[in-house]
């Protein structure tokens, strides 16, 4: 289908006079996300989303500024709130990265949900089994989380690269498959002995020694996530490995021509992204729940999409983006306690934010630039 694109290409933006059918790179979505350096758009999008949110809150009969204040206080100021927010931010950074890495190669990973879940259950189980080894057990748990997350990503990547199965479809399917499998595991083979009588679907509790704690109010998981975000940023920007990723994302044909093993890069991007999602799951098991239960995944995977788009596919920017989502999610309970607003308001707010950051129109309104018209997205459906 790529050959149909040349006709639809927008005219060149500068250079010598050329006819408008000059073909362009296929990297629409990516180019839009990366090339669109305007943080202004993001900020304006956030402001608009929060204003609409304010109107909704107002409509509930609550003073929106008070509501936002409560939310912020509950997420940042109150005793231990910041730690909890950071704790929530950690897996969000990772699921954000899980979407960002494949996105760099042109794949849209909406399967962080399942990848996280599989990483979490095996991470929790291994950390429990190896819990006697203390911190080593924790490390082992994290590694296993990465491995099992990656297994899901591997499947998606291989299906995409070698069988042409679109990753959006396969990740949706795998989300369901993994949910079924983990649920079966947690009421069957991996169910905690202590939970069997009560029937609670959960694994055995991870021993104290193998849990991830907080150091000076900063959760270990958060530190890990931040380091990994920085590593991803450095790898993508500074290494030959990252160059291969970016090249495949920017122009697949040119990458092939340049000798980049595209299929391998596609698989690797899914592998790496899914591994990070799996790690997020393991961190949640080791650091917050201290075991696996199906609820561990929550909406982490899908929040990752919002975060990746907010971050414009920039690994470092996933940190503030995840922090924002973490604030909203942490502050929600206090918001209900103080004002009675149902916590689902946060889902609405996130939907608004996602909408605002992803409509190209916003950038167009802001800058009246033609560049935004080029922001046509191509997720190469069906390829």
């Amino acid at each position: 289908m790529s050959d149909t694109r040349t006709e639809e290409a927008p005219p060149p933006s500068d250079g010598g006079p050329r006819e408008p059918e000059a073909p362009k790179d296929r990297a629409g979505l990516l180019a839009y996300l990366i090339g669109h350096q305007s943080g202004v758009v993001i900020v304006v999008a956030l402001v608009i989303a929060l204003l609409i949110g304010a109107a909704l809150i107002r409509y509930q009969g609550v003073n929106p500024w008070y509501a936002y204040e409560v939310l912020l206080r509950g997420a940042l100021v109150n005793d231990g709130a910041l730690t909890r927010t950071l704790q929530k931010t950690a897996p969000l950074v990772l699921t954000g990265l899980a979407v960002v890495l494949p996105l760099r190669v042109g794949l849209f990973n909406i399967g962080a949900q399942g990848q996280l879940q599989l990483g979490a259950i095996f991470g929790a189980w291994v950390a429990y089994v190896a819990g006697g080894a203390g911190f080593l057990g924790a490390v082992l748990g994290m590694l296993v989380g990465i491995v099992f997350g990656s297994v899901v990503g591997l499947l998606v990547g291989v299906l995409k690269a070698y069988r042409g199965v679109h990753e959006v479809i396969s990740t949706i399917m795998l989300n369901y498959i993994v949910a079924g499998v983990t649920f079966w595991l947690v009421v069957g083979p991996l169910q905690g002995e202590s939970s069997r009588t009560s029937g609670i679907p959960q694994t055995e509790s991870i021993p104290e020694a193998a849990r991830l704690d907080t150091v000076a109010g900063v959760p270990v998981g958060f530190a890990v996530a931040v380091v990994l975000a920085a590593v991803c940023w450095w790898v993508l920007g500074r290494t030959t490995f990252g160059f291969r990723f970016n090249t495949v994302g920017a122009n697949k044909e040119a990458a092939r021509y340049a000798g980049v093993p595209i299929n391998r890069v596609v698989v690797l991007s899914m592998l790496a992204g899914a591994g990070l999602a799996g790690l997020a799951g393991a961190l949640e098991a080791l650091g917050t729940l201290h075991r696996f239960e199906p609820a561990i995944v929550g909406s982490l995977g899908f929040d990752g999409i919002t975060i990746a788009l907010l971050a414009r596919a920039n690994p470092l920017a996933t940190i503030p983006a995840a922090f924002l989502v973490g604030i909203l999610r942490t502050g929600a309970a206090g918001l209900q306690f103080q004002t009675g607003i149902a916590p689902e308001i946060v889902d609405l707010l996130l939907a608004l934010i996602l909408l605002m950051v992803s409509i190209p129109v916003l950038g167009k309104w802001l800058f009246r630039s033609r560049a935004d018209k080029q922001s046509v997205a191509t997720t190469s459906w069906g390829n």
Partner: protein, 335 residues
């Protein structure tokens, strides 16, 4: 006559498969007349919303627009249909509100993905998240429907053994509409002016453009109108198949519909068959569970349709070909 034989030779594989399936079905009915009709009935019951939702996907993708927001469209419509009916006290008003909501949701996708050229997949994701947020935030409990959607039996057709019993006897109006819709969309897509243009727009929009077809407008109209089918599917869920609205009660059916669309090779009637197939898988799984003696954990049998989709996609790669321009916004030359 000649035309019939050309048609038959062109569609030999599907015809052979269809005949084989029919024979198998009647054979099964002969052997296990006690459970066969009910299993087929259950399969069709399971398939009804999936058929409607898959048609939404087919129309969208045939026009070149990916719609992964079907889930959200259905959810919004189920919500609107149920609550409008409950509040207004009229089923028909509720149904219309549901369909209208489906249209609005389709319109949202049309505007964002087609007019504004937002990434189509992201537009769908946004629609789903908004639908989830809105319906769970504004859900009010303790409402009930003022009535039921009538069941009807089609004269003559319902007399056909097995098939009539399954499809045309004592089924709700919406179930009949689903059959009709599949047939109509098929005919329209392949034998009408609209269909020719729609397929052109989805395959090779610039060709359509130079032939004087307004690509963007046709896409917007199609995506919006397809929303009415999603609306009907939603209405079916909350007002017919059940009589309640619950948070996220669509339960992933919108995504399953996408799988069905793909496995149906973007063709309405094949999608219809695939929906039935999944319905039958589901009915078989629960029948096995029910009669016992077969102990696959239900959690695993539930993943079967998804596994099947992956396997089919992996094996049939290259043979199932999506419309050429799907996922790509159409940008005219001077924009």
């Amino acid at each position: 006559m000649e035309r019939l034989s050309t048609w038959a030779s062109k569609n030999r594989t599907p015809l052979v498969i269809a005949a084989a399936v029919l024979v198998a079905a009647y054979a099964f009915n002969l052997v296990r007349g006690d459970i066969a009709p009910s299993m087929f009935g259950a399969a069709w019951g399971y398939a009804i919303p999936l058929v409607l939702a898959a048609l939404v996907g087919v129309i969208g993708e045939r026009s070149g627009v990916v719609n992964i927001g079907i889930e959200g469209q259905m959810l919004l419509a189920a919500f609107a249909g149920f609550f409008v009916a409950a509040v207004s006290g009229s089923m028909i008003v509720g149904v219309l509100a549901g369909i209208g909501t489906g249209l609005v949701a389709g319109g949202f996708l049309a505007v964002t993905a087609v007019r504004w050229r937002m990434d189509q997949i992201i537009a769908g994701v946004v629609l789903n998240i908004i639908a989830t947020g809105l319906t769970s935030f504004y859900l009010v409990s303790g409402q009930s429907l003022p009535g039921v959607i009538p069941n009807v039996s089609v004269p003559l057709l319902s007399q056909i053994p097995l098939l009539g019993e399954v499809f045309f006897s004592g089924r709700s109006v919406i179930a009949l509409i689903a059959i009709l819709a599949a047939v109509l969309v098929h005919l329209a897509l392949f034998h009408s002016r609209w269909g020719l243009r729609t397929r052109a727009v989805g395959e090779y929009p610039s060709a359509a453009d130079t032939a004087g077809i307004k690509v963007e407008r046709l896409r917007m109209v199609n995506v919006t109108l397809a929303g009415s089918l999603a609306g009907l599917a939603g209405v079916y869920l909350s007002m017919d198949a059940s009589s309640t609205f619950e948070r996220e009660m669509t339960a992933g059916r919108g995504f399953l519909a996408l799988a069905i669309m793909i496995m149906g090779a973007w063709r309405p009637l094949r999608a219809f068959s695939m929906a039935l197939f999944f319905g039958f898988v589901n009915a078989t799984a629960s029948q096995l569970q029910q009669t016992g003696g077969f102990s696959i954990p239900p959690q695993l049998t539930a993943t079967l349709p998804y596994v099947a989709t992956l396997v089919v996609l992996a094996v049939a790669a290259g043979r199932v070909r999506p419309p050429g321009a799907v996922g790509q916004p159409y940008v005219k030359k001077d924009q």
